[in-house]
């Protein structure tokens, strides 16, 4: 699998080498490295490499994070890669006129509402709103708690996806 990774490194000797090490340790076969100095003592590095599977990528990512290296973008086979999930929810209730903007803002504190679809039969009736929320795997519980709170406060029924 082909991976393109953008990293932000501090402009100090040896930082590039330290960043490349986890890639080769976990079986990554480096194809190219591009780097450019930026303002503020930072270097932006774009590494392309090949790996056997997604779990090696997760190991590499974990290692880089441990070193406090900022990953600004990862493309796997040319597509944006998250150890994130997109979870779908349907909210049923007076979702629009109980400050939907506020609801979305609250959710965006934990994840990111990346898609929204609404059916509103008539203003006085309950509407049904489907949301896709991009969420870091480790924050799923937090998101669920938040959605429960919102539903309790605004009297919504929530329909979660199976993995949500």
């Amino acid at each position: 699998m082909k991976v393109d990774m953008k990293l932000q490194l501090r402009d100090v000797p040896g930082s590039l080498l330290r960043a490349l090490e986890p890639v080769s340790v976990h079986g990554g076969n480096i194809v190219s490295v591009l780097h450019s100095r930026e303002d503020g003592g930072r270097v932006s590095v774009q590494i392309s490499f090949k790996i056997k599977d997604q779990s090696s990528l997760d190991l590499i990512k974990r290692e880089l994070r441990k070193q406090n290296i900022r990953l600004s973008e990862i493309l796997l086979e040319g597509k944006r890669y998250y150890s994130k999930k997109t979870l779908s929810f349907i909210l049923i209730g007076h979702v629009i006129d109980t400050d939907i903007r506020g609801t979305i803002d609250k959710i965006n504190d934990v994840g990111l509402v990346s898609d929204i679809d609404v059916i509103m039969p008539s203003p006085e009736k309950r509407s049904s709103v489907m949301m896709n929320i991009d969420i870091d795997n480790r924050k799923i519980k937090k998101l669920n708690r938040l959605i429960n709170e919102i539903c309790k406060e605004k009297k919504f029924l929530v329909i979660r996806s199976l993995e949500g």
Partner: protein, 334 residues
């Protein structure tokens, strides 16, 4: 060939009791040949009394009378109630098939306890006693050296308890998700496929005999909750009761929500989630194995070694459920 006599007492001669009797008649020869036993029903208890015959009741006749609600015209009819029959008539296995009352667990609870304490095995389709008092009842069974089997309580004909017991012994069960109630699944399927409201779908379910006159248990998720409690105890060794299950039913689901799900290639199903001890409507992708339609039930388990397994089938019906009851009875014998 000398057949071993096995005596059975049937308590509750409704849909399930009669279905069991019919299947017993149909499979009589097969069971004799394969198991070398003669399953003899020595007592059939109804709410108002019982028929008792230690030599074995003629089930064909009992069925005919029961269909015309004339069981009391049987020559062996007595006004003796089930509890007294358990105390006085010795049988090997008692089938407890009375209605489920999830508040009290009665009358099943007292029937099961008394039978176990009298040293008789119990096979039941009655969810409430197990959903409320699973570990207590198992303890009573163990200390009396008899068995309490309950395959029919979850998913009707689906062999979920026995699948775990006989085929997945070495596995740790990591999660269980199930569509465990035919009525609510029928209603949600109708709403999705035909765009009708819940009331219309429910009425139709009642007309074709899937839903009870009072479908509250099904629609509110209570029936599913009882099954989640049983699965949690039985397959995941959690010591919990029905009252620990968090339940949200399907009654507040709007046609618009179903339409939205459909637009995004999903369906809404009432799911029992055993890990979370939760019953709630959930969104699942159209091509997911749990997306079964109509009154079907489906259970998906994820085990550490075997990984994902899904079974699909009839979660109700007197005849279908008899498959599970007989499986338990034959299991006890062998």
């Amino acid at each position: 060939m000398k057949l071993k006599n096995i005596k059975l007492t049937i308590i509750g001669f409704g849909e399930i009791g009669r279905g069991f009797a019919r299947v017993l008649l149909e499979k009589k020869r097969f069971i004799e040949r394969e198991y070398e036993v003669d399953l003899k029903v020595v007592a059939v208890c109804e709410i108002g009394g019982s028929i008792i015959d230690e030599d074995g009741i003629d089930l064909e006749k009992a069925l005919k009378l029961a269909e015309n609600k004339e069981l009391r015209k049987h020559e062996n009819w007595t006004s003796m109630k089930a509890l007294d029959v358990i105390k006085k008539v010795k049988s090997d296995t008692v089938l407890e098939l009375t209605p489920s009352d999830i508040k009290s667990g009665q009358p099943g609870l007292k029937h099961i306890k008394e039978s176990l304490m009298k040293g008789m095995h119990v096979v039941t389709s009655n969810k409430a006693p197990l959903a409320l008092k699973f570990s207590e009842l198992q303890k009573i069974a163990n200390s009396n050296k008899v068995k309490l089997e309950y395959e029919a309580t979850v998913g009707g004909a689906l062999p979920i308890i026995n699948l775990r017991k006989h085929a997945l012994q070495i596995n740790k069960i990591e999660s269980i998700h199930g569509i465990l109630n035919g009525t609510s699944n029928y209603v949600l399927t109708k709403m999705a496929e035909e765009g009708v409201t819940m009331d219309v779908a429910l009425k139709e379910a009642q007309e074709i005999g899937i839903a009870e006159a009072d479908p509250g248990y099904d629609i509110k998720g209570i029936d599913t909750g009882a099954k989640v409690a049983i699965l949690a105890n039985s397959l995941m060794d959690m010591n919990v009761s029905f009252n620990d299950i968090e339940i949200t039913g399907i009654k507040d689901i709007t046609p618009e929500a179903i339409e939205l799900a459909k637009k995004h290639n999903c369906v809404i199903k009432l799911i029992g989630d055993v890990n979370r001890l939760e019953v709630s409507p959930r969104l699942i992708p159209i091509n997911h194995p749990l997306n079964v339609s109509g009154a079907m039930n489906a259970i998906m388990i994820n085990a550490d070694i075997a990984k994902n397994i899904t079974i699909v089938g009839h979660g109700a019906g007197g005849i279908e459920t008899a498959s599970s009851l007989l499986s338990d009875i034959l299991d006890i014998i062998s």
